[in-house]
């Protein structure tokens, strides 16, 4: 269902209203000013977001601002973190709108969403459970282990979110290219416009396919689905 929505958004929504018959998504992607400003703003606000949350996490780990209470550091810095997070989220959603179908079937994007969920759950757990008795350890140079674990999860998950965000731009695992079945399944290639191509089927290692050694790996055997034609295997989601 989401695939259909994103396919319509990327390819059809707005084609009757734009001058060159592009969808609103394509118009945004090809815009002269808006796209560059959005991407740049997303990145710069991410800098503010990550930089500030890192400092709070380092305080929780007991390696920076050890002489200051956690509350003094977090109360002031987290305002900047929340502000930048809101801008990052808004610009991120608009950037997603530029190629919703492609991003939806991108393994890095999907991994990023999972990691974002981990990071957000960690924030919720920190506020609900770890912070409950903060008054007891607020001034301690080294906060208790549960606070330090939360800080480590926070740093690790945000680093991974940033990494995945950067890797979205690379088409190593683009649907329609020959790749392992689990990758096709993880990014839902079977229902994407570009389809799913199983690496094993292409290289002839799949059961029942016995290619001669001189057959080039790039040439799909007759049994393998074509890149353009979506495979019929069910979507694993």
């Amino acid at each position: 269902m989401l695939h259909d929505l994103f396919h319509w958004m990327q390819n059809e929504w707005g084609v009757e209203h734009t001058v060159y018959g592009r969808s609103f998504s394509q118009a945004l992607l090809e815009s002269l000013n808006a796209w560059g400003l959005l991407e740049g703003t997303h990145l710069l606000m991410l800098m503010l977001f990550f930089g500030t949350i890192l400092m709070v996490d380092l305080r929780l780990l007991g390696v920076a601002f050890k002489e200051q209470p956690v509350s003094v550091i977090s109360n002031k810095i987290l305002k900047l973190t929340v502000f930048s997070m809101v801008v990052v989220m808004v610009t991120g959603v608009v950037l997603f709108f530029s190629k919703p179908e492609e991003y939806w079937h991108n393994i890095w994007f999907r991994t990023k969403l999972v990691l974002l969920a981990v990071a957000i759950i960690n924030v919720a757990v920190f506020h609900k459970l770890v912070q409950k008795n903060q008054a007891e350890w607020d001034s301690a140079p080294k906060p208790p282990s549960k606070a330090r674990i939360s800080a480590i999860i926070s740093i690790a998950s945000w680093v991974a979110v940033i990494g995945c965000g950067r890797l979205i731009a690379y088409n190593w695992f683009e649907c329609g290219k020959p790749q392992p079945a689990w990758v096709n399944s993880a990014q839902g290639c079977a229902i994407s416009s570009k389809g799913a191509m199983d690496m094993d089927a292409v290289t002839g290692t799949a059961a029942g396919v016995d290619l001669p050694p001189e057959t080039p790996a790039e040439t799909p055997p007759a049994e393998a689905p074509a890149a353009e034609a979506p495979a019929t295997q069910p979507e694993a989601k």
Partner: protein, 283 residues
């Protein structure tokens, strides 16, 4: 002359090294870095984010906002290690990126303004911001000289950015960052007047350049002229409010005017570095 040429890049300054730069891309080490490009890029971005986060806290403290319950020297002392790690990460990975992509960067105007901004940022942070923060806002003669040097280099970078049709719009990141810092530093009604002015400028600018003005590669003049008109208008509007802040009209009490100017300018310099990096990819 350079301004008239547009897209002024390193190849305009040192054309003699052209063949050498071309050759770099074929070396083994460059090929290795090309293969690892995506991961080096992530390392580079994380380094920039780390140094950006560390320096913005010090700069905001000099302006008189952020961690106001502790002194600027304490903020600088606690962020120094992370700032240094960020700088090392950004420079080491930046050299790897440069080696793997030398030809493109050599001809790229955005790369030149990023480099100018980076040198300015490093001078700013190590010789101006950090010493001033360590002295809790007192600005010594050495810091004043380096402030001048760093400002001149930064302005040169902005000039290069403005000559590049297409990435000149990247100057808006610097201008809007100025607006955001002014927003954080201003108090009371003044900050909302600032926002109203920004909305009144940015909305018509986007409408004009996306709906009204039709451009093609053969005629970028109307688009570029509109960008520049709105760029200068927005900069003037934010500048007026920033000056009001720096001179103390609506400024926090807990800092002096020169320290505020230093904090304000240093943030904009590092924003220029970040914006420059992004526009390398877009141009």
């Amino acid at each position: 002359m350079f301004l008239a040429q547009g897209n002024f890049a390193v190849d305009d300054i040192i054309p003699q090294i052209g063949p050498w730069v071309e050759n770099i891309g074929t070396t083994k080490i460059a090929t290795l870095f090309q293969d690892l490009f995506a991961f080096i890029e992530i390392f580079h971005i994380l380094g920039l984010f780390m140094l950006g986060g560390a320096t913005i806290l010090v700069c905001l403290r000099l302006i008189g906002v952020g961690l106001t319950e502790v002194s600027p020297s304490v903020v600088e002392k606690n962020t120094r290690l992370w700032f240094n790690i960020g700088v090392i990460m950004a420079i080491v990975s930046g050299l790897m990126i440069g080696l793997s992509n030398a030809q493109k960067l050599y001809n790229n105007s955005a790369f030149l303004f990023k480099m100018l901004a980076m040198f300015s940022g490093i001078f700013f942070s190590y010789f101006v911001v950090n010493p001033v923060a360590r002295a809790d806002g007192k600005v010594g003669p050495g810091a004043k000289i380096w402030l001048l040097v760093a400002l001149i280099i930064w302005v040169l970078g902005i000039v290069v950015m403005l000559t590049n049709v297409g990435s000149d719009v990247g100057v808006f990141h610097v201008i809007v960052a100025g607006g955001l810092v002014a927003f954080a530093a201003l108090q009371g009604k003044a900050r909302w007047i600032l926002v109203a002015g920004l909305v009144a400028l940015i909305v018509p600018w986007q409408l004009l350049t996306h709906i009204w003005i039709r451009t093609d590669d053969a005629n970028m003049v109307p688009y570029d002229t509109t960008n520049k008109i709105f760029m200068w208008s927005t900069a003037a509007w934010i500048g007026a409010f920033s000056v009001a802040n720096i001179l103390g009209k609506a400024a926090p009490k807990d800092s002096n005017a020169t320290a505020r100017l230093i904090g304000f300018a240093a943030i904009l310099v590092w924003v220029t570095v970040g914006a420059g990096g992004r526009w390398i990819g877009l141009t």
